[in-house]
Symmetry: C2
Subunit: 375 residues, 2 copies
């Protein structure tokens, strides 16, 4: 693997993942400002970038209060001076040993559950250091993935169990407001955020009626947190992740503009197939991921910068096929060696394919970041 | 990341990529036997597994004669005692510096090209060690990706240029016979292999008519090499890759049986969504990849071992949704914590998502292999 830092964007090996540091910092500041305005604690989710450097920027240099999707991320951050980490993934027994290590290692480590089985796994494995498990309950508002349905009595039952257990503290509610991905435009996103907030407040109220104090209500999802409804000031924490880079999917939803997208894949034309009207690039599915392709064919989900008439229509492991939306490819305009820049459809998926991010300001490469991977 | 080696398959952290070493060794031996029978040199492609250990087995302990898809693979193998490496990816100028390092480092390093631009890039950058570049020309038989069309005069022109250049040796022709992925069953695969061989022999003949000797004709693709037509003994090299693990796609094509598939993803049920008839597993697209999903919906392309009535119908980054083909999920049968094993649709794509492979014989974990990634 190339280890020397190239000087300019045009010198990076291809394929590469490029990170525009100025856009990333702008996205970070905008989210910090939004949270400040609403009086919300920002808990950036690290799943999109998985680097020390980006987490540090998103946390405004505080190195505390993050959410992670894997124990590998939790290990990375706790090894590098970060504290107050939420493992935002429903706990199961097989992950308890490593959670206990993390709990003993840093000041504040939080787990999440959505079932009595998860509760019993924690109950069977006390932290062993006198400091109780800090537990969020995940609520399913309308995304229908993990989480206890907001209408279910199980929420009260679980919260009662946690609150009544000396080895645990009931920290509050967590909701990945993923349903907002189905809305288009800032007004619709706000309305969805308002509805979810209202539901979460009902749940909080229901718990209060059972004398259970819900200290923190945390809501994720980049669309909601990019266009928060004013009512979301009733929440305590935001945990968006994707906004670090944004992407074409978020642009389509209306969370961001094209100009906010901070991540791109650099690739080069390596062959011309004139007979089949195709440019071959050195960006296959190992460089950009096929996530999003299943819902976006025959129209390609990716955007090739400054080339609206080109689209990436197929990929094998290391090769991509680029053709025109209309007419013939102007092969003279795209000789072998031409560099193209592709905006990811889903930056979480694309970034995860790269062992190195090439971080640039304008045309200059400023740094190489190495994300953690695995579990 | 978990670093200690678990003792049994049922103890692996989830998600994990499991490699059945007995099946892998059987697949390796079968391909070696096939090549021996036909009198062909096997040049295993490493793109599927990208490990030292599997390459060593596929080479029958010889540590020589492999094909790679990335320079990162070439670096790994040349650093670990492997020799005679073909970088089976059309060369462009930006990759020349690293190719020259590899050329100077090992006894035999081969490059591949499909254009005059590639030729000129090599011409401009002599190897500098008195040993000429060893060059394959990639031929497009009917896959229509990279490669010079087999009907094009460019083949003769390129071969003449290479043969006439003191700094280069014309090694021969390379063909990824990817078209065979469109055939079903061993007879159709054989017929496709026979046709491609016939075409490649015509090209070889055409070169001979121009007094150009084509030393080696190399053909890839796991289907062709798993069911070779006898006429393929006219070739000099086979360079299949996927057969190391095989997968559901190869099973569907007819290259292998279910029992030959040596790679699986281990995952656990982490939540039950009874209202929506869904089991949630800790296998999202970062653990299995979405490759193949675009052509296989609404039917899921993956197979959940021993559970024909279950199918993986959706994924987010770290979560998978499993539901039934017919009827309701038997939630009592799949409590939280239940381990499931998923056969990959495309093992090249799935394996690439994992920093560690858990290698097992029967139920016992024998080793942890760490593949190279990146470019």
């Amino acid at each position: 693997m190339a280890t020397e830092m190239p000087i300019e964007v045009l010198n990076v090996p291809t394929p590469s993942f490029l990170v525009d540091i100025d856009k990333l910092e702008r996205n970070a500041r905008a989210m910090q400002d939004r949270c400040k305005h609403l009086g919300i604690q920002l808990r950036p989710h690290t799943k999109t970038h998985k680097t020390i450097e980006a987490a540090d920027i998103l946390c405004g240099g505080q190195k505390r209060c993050i959410a992670v999707s894997t124990l590998a991320e939790a290990d990375l951050y706790s090894d590098n001076g970060f504290d107050d980490i939420l493992f935002a993934f429903v706990i199961t027994e097989n992950k308890i040993v490593r959670c206990r290590q993390l709990h003993n290692k840093i000041g504040a480590f939080h787990v999440m559950l959505d079932s009595k089985v998860g509760y019993e796994a924690l109950e069977k494995s006390p932290t062993g250091n006198g400091k109780p498990w800090s537990v969020y309950i995940e609520i399913d508002v309308k995304y229908h993935r993990t989480g206890v349905s907001w209408q279910s009595d199980d929420i009260v039952n679980l919260a009662s169990l946690i609150s009544g257990n000396n080895g645990m503290t009931f920290r509050g509610l967590y909701c990945h407001n993923g349903d907002t991905y189905n809305y288009i435009g800032s007004e619709a996103i706000k309305e969805a955020g308002r509805e979810s907030t209202e539901i979460l407040m009902k749940v909080k109220q229901r718990l209060l009626q059972h004398s259970i104090n819900c200290g923190v209500v945390c809501m994720g999802s980049t669309p909601s947190c990019s266009h928060p409804d004013e009512s979301m000031s009733l929440l305590e924490e935001f945990s968006p992740g994707n906004y670090v880079f944004y992407d074409v999917m978020q642009k389509n939803i209306g969370s961001c503009s094209m100009d906010d997208i901070a991540g791109r894949v650099a690739t080069r034309v390596i062959s011309q197939n004139v007979d089949h009207n195709i440019l071959i690039i050195d960006c296959g599915f190992l460089a950009i991921s096929k996530d999003g392709m299943e819902n976006n064919l025959p129209k390609s989900p990716w955007i090739i910068q400054d080339n609206p008439n080109l689209r990436l229509v197929g990929m094998s492991q290391e090769l991509g096929k680029v053709t025109t939306v209309e007419g013939k490819v102007d092969f003279a305009k795209y000789p072998i060696g031409t560099m193209l820049f592709i905006y990811p459809y889903h930056s979480c998926a694309t970034a995860a394919m790269h062992p190195v991010y090439y971080v640039h300001s304008g045309d200059k490469i400023m740094a190489m970041w190495r994300p953690i991977r695995g579990w």
